[in-house]
């Protein structure tokens, strides 16, 4: 079933021409596509713009992907009748009366040719930013490089001399004042150089932190010890360098400060790494053959028993270092020449107290004459709180341990610790009594002859009286040292040969048991004294009540954190720079100028 299509075109002379064609039905497509039977080559037409179907009963139009208007009305589909005007984009399709045998005849006219409204001046191209990517890239690259690198380094790049502060110590100071430009460059570059700082410097370095060159004195070289020692002039070696052997010992001798001390890690300068201590102390003898210290890699897992520094009262220059352990070394005894019984003094029932009760909880018997002593009655922390202050007879003992020489006669006491002074004092005291001058606080002893007050005495009588007094004083002195055992309560007292007085053994009590340890009592005040120092069974002064490592380990662990425990690395208790030599033998005078080494 064919239909007739007439393409109407206008030739150059304006005459319309009709080109008649037959198109095979019954289904005919209209569109831009070349497969369409009615081919309308115009960009404004859809590929498959519409369909026309012819049948016995007539022709129907159906819109495809394009818009179709039939008699000026937009339709989705329509039955076609003769005279209908179909607008398909710029084309006009008119239904003409078909010749016989043909169900449909169409004329196709391009009503609105493309050229008619081509250049209407519209601009629709994509507009891009005026600046090119290339130019922007140059600006970004050069700008960033200037701000981040070139300006901060400008003084160096321009060859300006070092500022005095940069070469710490014997730095060069230029006499010439910097020029105006140089001043500006320096100011700006110093500001920008701060942006290089990867992290805040430690508190102690804050005063010099603004000038990078104080420590980073050599470009592209790691921080040298000379920069450190410029300020830390007195820093000491760990151990004398001569004691260290082998490659490891050499490596230790060559170590830079910065290998342990890292700055720019926050307010505290990272001090050290335990692994570094363990490098040698795992087998310290291989590095230092004479070392006495034991194997130590971590406080919790591998650390020897503590060594105590013990004194010997009879050998004032000797210090015995005795290691704790079980069984205890026979040498682990204090030789202080003092007699003291902790257990007795700390009797829970209290001790006799000449001044009566001290407080409600201390009262024991009806007379209120017993006092329960506490540790801090005798042991008080020293000024820094780190150690205990020494115990003094006058302050801590004498209130109970009276040095009264004849209690029935007077409450006066002799001085502590000086036999000659005591003897003199006694002679003078009794001489005064014998001579008849009795002070109001003295109840003169009945057996002591006395002169009548106001009597005129002869020289011989006076000499006689003084002799009596001397005899009495000697007797009383002997009572103090020997008979009444006033001195020997605490001291080792032996009579000198030939009755020339008494020998009181010198007393030396340990004030610090671990002199190199960083232990502080002040940091342990939350614990009871007896937790570490159990003296409840200590009956003589030779007994040492120092805690062992096991007790410390109840709270302290090693460098690896354990829940509920105090993380403790080597530096928690040990000093590193504890030797006597200067660090690496470097003295201020030997420091190299900038640019050398």
């Amino acid at each position: 079933m064919d239909i007739q299509v007439v393409y109407v075109t206008v030739n150059r002379r304006g005459q319309s021409q009709r080109d008649q064609q037959r198109v095979a039905g019954p289904s005919i497509s209209v569109g831009r596509g070349t497969q369409c039977q009615i081919h309308l080559p115009d960009p404004r037409i859809a590929l498959q713009h519409a369909h026309i179907t012819v049948s016995e009963s007539g022709a129907t139009l159906e819109a495809g992907s394009g818009r179709v208007q039939v008699n000026s009305h937009e339709v989705g589909g329509a039955k076609l009748a003769v005279g209908d005007r179909i607008e398909v984009g710029p084309y006009l399709l008119e239904v003409e009366s078909p010749p016989a045998g043909v169900p449909l005849a169409l004329s196709v006219t391009l009503a609105a040719p493309l050229a008619a409204h081509g250049g209407d001046g519209r601009r629709f191209t994509l507009r891009l930013p005026r600046a090119s990517k290339r130019r922007l890239s140059y600006i970004a690259f050069i700008g960033t490089l200037l701000l981040c690198l070139l300006v901060p380094l400008a003084p160096e790049l321009l060859g300006y001399p070092q500022t005095p502060s940069a070469t710490a110590g014997p730095g060069r100071i230029d006499a010439a004042e910097p020029g105006r430009i140089e001043h500006v460059v320096r100011t700006v570059s110093t500001r920008l150089l701060q942006t290089w700082n990867p992290g805040p410097v430690s508190r102690a370095h804050q005063p010099v932190g603004a000038d990078c060159l104080t420590c980073h004195a050599f470009p592209f070289v790691q921080v040298r010890d000379v920069s450190c020692i410029a300020c830390h002039k007195t820093i000491k070696e760990h151990v004398p360098a001569a004691e260290l052997k082998g490659a490891q010992g050499q490596a230790f001798r060559d170590m830079r400060c910065a290998e342990c001390h890292r700055d720019h890690k926050g307010m505290q300068m990272a001090p050290y790494a335990q692994e570094q201590c363990a490098d040698c102390h795992r087998d310290v003898k291989s590095v230092a053959p004479d070392a006495k210290s034991g194997k130590a890699t971590d406080f919790r897992t591998e650390h020897p028993e503590f060594r105590l520094s013990l004194l010997d009262a009879n050998k004032p220059d000797a210090i015995r270092r005795v290691r704790q352990g079980k069984p205890a070394s026979p040498d682990m005894v204090e030789r202080s020449n003092l007699k003291f019984n902790h257990a007795l003094h700390l009797d829970p029932g209290g001790v006799r107290d000449p001044e009566g009760k001290r407080d409600a909880s201390g009262v024991r018997d009806a007379q209120g004459r017993r006092t329960v002593l506490r540790c801090d009655d005798c042991h008080q922390p020293n000024e820094g709180g780190r150690l205990m202050a020494p115990v003094f007879m006058e302050l801590h003992c004498q209130r109970c341990h009276s040095l009264a020489f004849e209690p029935k006669v007077t409450k006066r006491q002799v001085v502590h610790g000086d036999e000659a002074a005591i003897a003199t004092m006694l002679r003078e005291f009794y001489a005064r009594l014998v001579l008849g001058d009795v002070p109001p606080d003295v109840n003169p002893p009945p057996d002591l002859p006395r002169m009548r007050p106001g009597a005129v005495v002869t020289y011989q009588e006076r000499q006689q009286a003084l002799k009596i007094a001397d005899e009495k004083a000697k007797l009383v002195l002997r009572e103090l040292f020997e008979t009444r055992k006033v001195c020997s309560t605490c001291h080792e007292v032996t009579p000198k040969a030939g009755g020339a007085g008494w020998e009181v053994a010198p007393v030396r009590v340990a004030e610090i048991w671990m002199p190199q340890a960083l232990f502080s009592h002040a940091k342990h005040t939350t614990e009871k004294c007896t937790k570490c120092h159990d003296v409840s069974q200590s009956k003589d002064s030779g007994h040492i009540a120092m805690p062992g490592i096991a007790l410390c380990r109840e709270c302290h662990v090693g460098a690896r954190t354990v829940a509920g425990k105090v993380t403790s690395d080597c530096a928690t208790c040990h000093k590193f720079h504890a030797g006597s030599d200067f660090w690496h033998g470097v003295l201020q005078a030997q420091m190299l100028p900038r640019g050398k080494k």
Binding site: P43, S65, D120, L126, I139, A140, T195, V223
Partner: protein, 285 residues
């Protein structure tokens, strides 16, 4: 195998696997490695820090070489498609490598500046990948088989038609249409400025304004004239819809290009910051 293969699926995601392996290795070694205690925590100066930093710097340099490689049409050093695929995946893996390199330590310094610039470059690149993968689809859907040109031709046709219809309507309406058409032709650059193209809006569209004006006038007409006016409004709405689609097309095109205006200059800023970072670190070792 389909004709088109996304750069993301190049060689079955070869570079995705490479990047994933790189990230996994970096994370694994970072978790395993125990930095010396003097550093307190991991940082860029440990052996791992230096290693990750070197990998990162080399990656950045290589990623920037894409700009050269894609212009070397005669080069046969791998296909540009492969390079781009690797560029995308390895670029993303930099997030992991650089973050582990700095060990999550940030501050107001050039080191973090380099990091921030890198992240901005990566973020703009991410948008680029998204745009390149999604927008062609949106554009096809928006154009619906047409081209920018055919749509504009249709707009022109419709304008002619509107003018014709308006002839039957009162003078004020006719003038309105003539004016709008004239102004549209003279003043409107479809899409407008670059920023407007990006945003995809054009509040001053003359035909839209004219239509809205016409709708306000609408009730004053009656009978046949009202019907004609209704038709006019319909045609004008078509113009507006068409120009909206044109604008949307331009917007999508603009967005597909604009990210490069960030991506490229920022990567050069990054190159400078990276140089400063490396030099500064070793200058003050």
């Amino acid at each position: 195998m389909s004709q088109h293969q996304s750069i993301l699926e190049f060689r079955h995601g070869r570079y995705f696997k490479v990047a994933l392996l790189l990230c996994a290795a970096a994370i694994g070694v970072y978790a395993w490695h125990d930095p010396p205690a003097i550093y307190l925590k991991p940082y860029g100066g440990t052996w791992l820090g230096y290693t990750l930093g070197t990998i990162g710097a080399v990656l950045i340099l290589w990623l920037m070489l894409l700009g050269i490689r894609k212009r070397r049409y005669r080069s046969n050093m791998g296909s540009v498609q492969g390079w781009t695929s690797a560029h995308i995946y390895l670029g993303f893996s930099l997030i992991v490598v650089a973050t582990l390199h700095c060990a999550f330590e940030f501050g107001w310094n050039i080191h973090t500046l380099a990091y921030a610039l890198m992240m901005l470059v990566i973020a703009s690149g991410f948008f680029g990948v998204y745009a390149y993968l999604r927008y062609p689809e949106y554009m096809t859907a928006n154009l619906a088989g047409e081209t920018l040109e055919t749509m504009l031709l249709k707009v022109a046709d419709l304008e002619v038609k509107c003018k014709r219809i308006a002839l039957d309507l009162p003078d004020e309406v006719n003038a309105l249409i003539m004016n709008a058409s004239k102004r549209a032709a003279e003043k409107t650059a479809l899409g407008g400025s670059f920023r407007r193209q990006l945003a995809g809006v054009d509040p001053g569209h003359p035909m839209r304004l004219a239509r809205d004006e016409l709708l306000k006038m609408g009730t004053r007409l009656s009978g046949d004239q009202a019907k004609v006016q209704e038709q006019l409004v319909m045609e004008m709405t078509r113009i507006v819809a068409l120009t909206d689609r044109v604008r949307r097309d331009l917007q999508l095109r603009a967005q597909m290009q604009v990210w490069l205006y960030f991506h490229v200059p920022l990567s050069f800023a990054l190159l400078a910051a990276l140089t400063a970072h490396i030099i500064s670190v070793f200058y003050f070792w």
